[in-house]
Structure formats: C-alpha cells, structure tokens
C-alpha cells in the first residue's frame, strides 16, 4: 500500500489531521487520570472532538487523492517520519499544567487557522471548518479558564504552569515558520502569528506567568516529518494492533 500523497492540498491538510489525532491521543491518556471525574469528562470530550476532526480531515484527504486507502490506513500504517503534526501536541502529559498549557497554545492556533479555513475555496473544507471552529472555541475557553485557575491559584500551581509554559514554548517557533504550502492554503499567515502571540502574551500576563525570553531552538521542522523522541513511543502504542495483525479487520 502506497500512502504517499500526490496533491498539495492533501499535503497541507494532513498536517492538521495529524495534529488533531496526536493531540486526541494525548488527551485520551488522561482518561481516569484527571484531578476529578468532571475534568476527566471534559478532557474526554475534547479528545473526542479531536478524533472526529482528524477522521473528517483524513476523509477529505482520501477523497482529494482518489485513494484506495482509508483514514485508518493513514493513522495506523505510517511511521514517525511520515507524520506531520506540530511537535507541541506530541509532548507528554507531565502533569495537569502541561495538559492545559499545551491545549491553550494549540487551541489558540487552531482557532485562528480554522477560522481562516471557513472561507476556503474547497466547500467541503470550509463547511468542516465552521463545525470545527465551534468545538475549538469551547475547548479554548476551557483551557483559558484553567490557565487562570492554575496561574492565579496557589504558588505551587503557578510554578507548575510556569514550568510547563517555559518548556512548551520551545515548540512554538516552528509553527509560524511557514512554507509555501502554508501560504497557499492559509489566507493570512501573518495574522495567524500575530493573533496567537498577542493573545498568549495577554493571557500569560493576566494569569501571572512570565513570558521569558527564549532562544530559538535548533529543532528541525515538523513539515519534514521531524519529531521529538516521544512520537515513536506514542505511535507504537497507538498502532500496535493493526501492525501486529496486518490482515485483520477491526
């Protein structure tokens, strides 16, 4: 089975699809591990939205490619170097502050991005973006509220959030290092970055988290299928069954 994409639009969309499925998987790891049951349900809901979003995006990709493979093939039969998610979302759930900071950073980015895609010339994509935007707005609100609680809660929670923010910000630079493909399908890449940076600065300040100077890290681009070490482990768990039983249908 050849899973190489031929069309530019699907090469662009798979970045969004992969980002959704990997973040969905990370959030699913939180199932039965939240600070209380209600939050377990909240994170499960967001995870479900992400898996649903990924599935729709993969379907679009299969359609554009006129493919004989399925969304599941794309999820379960590609290796690390064939995945194109932003590295931010594959970062582990070190603690609840990581979960929240990662989600907040992602949702802000995704909200502007899908907001722009609502005017895509691909009507199906535009329609999907409208639906997805509602989910992201909710998830963003949920994460933003927790940023306040953790940032302004106790000294410990503030420190933990600061630590998570410091670590995760290192994976932001690559997101805005746009290539030609991005510029073709995102109407306004410049505003995607400024909207994100302004909103993050405002939020961090409001919740008493310092926005430290960070040196641009030497990390290779997710657009070329580069990842952190966490990715292979995540995939080996996620893809275990279809890999171990290639002939089975599930």
């Amino acid at each position: 089975m050849k899973l190489e994409l031929q069309h530019d639009e699907s090469k662009f969309l798979i970045r969004l699809a992969d980002t959704s499925v990997i973040l969905g998987q990370r959030l699913a790891e939180m199932c039965s591990r939240g600070p209380f049951l209600e939050e377990d349900m909240a994170l499960s809901n967001i995870s479900l939205d992400l898996f649903g979003r990924a599935e729709e995006l993969y379907k679009l990709i299969c359609k554009i490619e006129g493919a004989d493979y399925t969304p599941d093939d794309l999820v379960y039969r590609r290796n690390e170097r064939e995945y194109y998610n932003i590295k931010l979302v594959e970062q582990p759930n070190e603690d609840f502050a990581w979960v929240i900071a990662r989600q907040f950073f992602h949702d802000l980015y995704a909200e502007t991005l899908f907001g722009q895609l609502t005017t895509s010339s691909n009507a199906e994509l535009a329609g999907l973006a409208v639906k997805v935007l509602k989910e992201i707005k909710y998830s963003h609100m949920h994460a933003a509220d927790w940023m306040d609680r953790l940032g302004l809660g106790t000294e410990e929670s503030n420190h933990r959030l600061q630590y998570a923010v410091d670590h995760l910000r290192k994976y932001i630079v690559e997101i805005f290092d746009f290539d030609d493909l991005d510029r073709r399908f995102i109407a306004d890449t410049a505003s995607l970055e400024t909207t994100w940076r302004n909103a993050v600065s405002a939020k961090l300040q409001a919740c008493n988290i310092e926005e430290k100077e960070i040196v641009t890290p030497s990390i290779r681009d997710f657009r070329d299928g580069y990842h952190s070490e966490h990715m292979g482990n995540l995939l080996s768990i996620m893809q275990y069954l279809p890999r171990a039983y290639p002939d089975a249908k599930w």
């Binding site: 699913a28 039965s32 349900m41 990924a54 603690d95 929670s157 039983y245 089975a248």
Partner: protein
Amino acid sequence: MDKFEQAFNEIIEKDLKVEPRDWMPEKYRKNLIRQISQHAHSEVIGMQPEGNWLLRAPSLRSKQVLLAKIQDEAGHGLYLYSVAETLGISRQEMNAQLHSGEAKYSSIFNYPTLTWADMGAVGWLVDGAAIVNQVSLQRTSYGPYSRGMVRICKEESFHQRQGYEIMVQMANGTPEQKEMAQDALNRFWEPSLMMFGPHDADSAHSSQSMAWKIKRESNDHLRQRFIDRTVPQAHFLGLTIPDENLKFNEETGHWETSPFNWDEFWNVIKGNGPCNRERLDHHKKAHNENAWVREAAAAYSSKVETSVA
C-alpha cells in the same frame, strides 16, 4: 409508630417513591448509601479495564466509541455520587471509603483485560449483566436512584451493542481474532455471572433490601434472566460457552449451568483478585497526584468569587 414512619411505610407499600427530604429509617438510608456508592465506584473503577485498551483501539471509529463509552461511565459515576449525596454523604467521604477499602465496587473490574476481544466481552457480558440489574433498579423505591437508573439505562443502551459488535467482528475475523474472542468469553463468562452476587440464600443484604423495595428482584432471578438471554447470543457468534454442563431445560424454559466457583468470588471480594490492588492504586494515584490542582481551583475560587449567588 409516629406519623413520619407511617408515611414512609405507606410510600413503600403503595410503590411510591421516597424523596430526599422524606423521613426514612436510618438503616434504609445506610443501606442505600452502601448500595449506591458501591454502584458509583463500580462505574468509576470500571473505566480502568477499558481504559487499558483505549490508546490501542485499532481504528478511529472504535477509539471514539470506546472513549465515549468510558466517558459515559464517568458520567454515570457522577449521577450516582450525586444521588448518594442526597442521602447526606459527601463525595469526599465516599472517595475516602473507596480508598480505605470500606466501600466496595463490583469484583468484575478486578479482572484484567488482556486482548482487544476483551473490549467486546466487557461490553457484551459485563455491561449486559449490569443492564439487567439496572433495568430492574429503575423501579427502586428511592426516587433519585430510580430516576438516575432511568437516565443511565437510556444512555447505556449502546454499551452492550458496542461490545457485541466487536465480538461479531472478532468471531468472524481471522483465526487469531476468533481465538481471542473465544478466550475472552472463557475468561469473562463466570465472573460476569457472579456479578449478580451470591445466591439468594447467602446474600447478606438481600431480604431487607427487597422488603424496602430498594432491590426489586433477587440475585438468582436476575442472573437467570441474563443467562437465558446470553447463551443464544454466544451461539450466534459460533462461540462455545465455557461450561460443559450447560443445558437447556425444556420444562422450565431456562438454561442450567454448573455451580460457580464461589471460593474465587469471595477471594476476589476480599481483595485477592488479579487487579484489586492495581485498580485502587491507580485511583489513589490520580487523586493524590492532582491534589495541587484541586487546591489551585479552590484558592482561585476564593479569590474571584466573593458571593455565591
């Protein structure tokens, strides 16, 4: 007998519902708290054996279905905790009782889930057994519990189907998949029958619960209903029920089984099942390691919310 006790007896007799503000005998309240908190803990601990396969679910569809199902279980735990709270026990107390071992949960969740077929068997057999029990509890005499059961039964109607769908897929799949399906049935058959509890004659709380109409049908009665429903479903799958003595009694119209291994049942209840320790440790760990999150939420709330209403 004072007028309150009389009113209570009348409610029970006439098959009406007892409500939180009504007078009730202390033992009725205690009995309810025991049963409802056990029910709630079962939903919550039950998230773990399924969560064990969530990250390895083999398709986007099965992953979403399983996550939605586990999420329902969290929700049902919450419904039940809030029902228990109407009886004057707090969530924190119930959690503490779970952690100390004072409160129990269904023993079935102390069995490990070893293959993906177990997601089928758990949905089909474990949820199937739970549903038989819960449908009966819709008629329980405590109003909030009864209404909670109605809601839960409605929501859980997809759970058993989800499990059976996996069993169909596996039983008709590759030889390896079929083997996994049979193996899952072999391991979960007897434990799921024991979910209904001891035989009526050996059940400590049964008779009083029946008299107060907390329980509406006996353990053995419910168990038999489940067996009669499930055996033909197994045959449809082409799987073998792991009981050499299983036979259909033409006269009674019921399937008859071998005696169960009650020694194992009691041993697992006492804490010596394959995963008792692991399940509790998992729950405690999540609770304890996130104490700082709850403290942060409390501190934040006291800073920003000066008035309640």
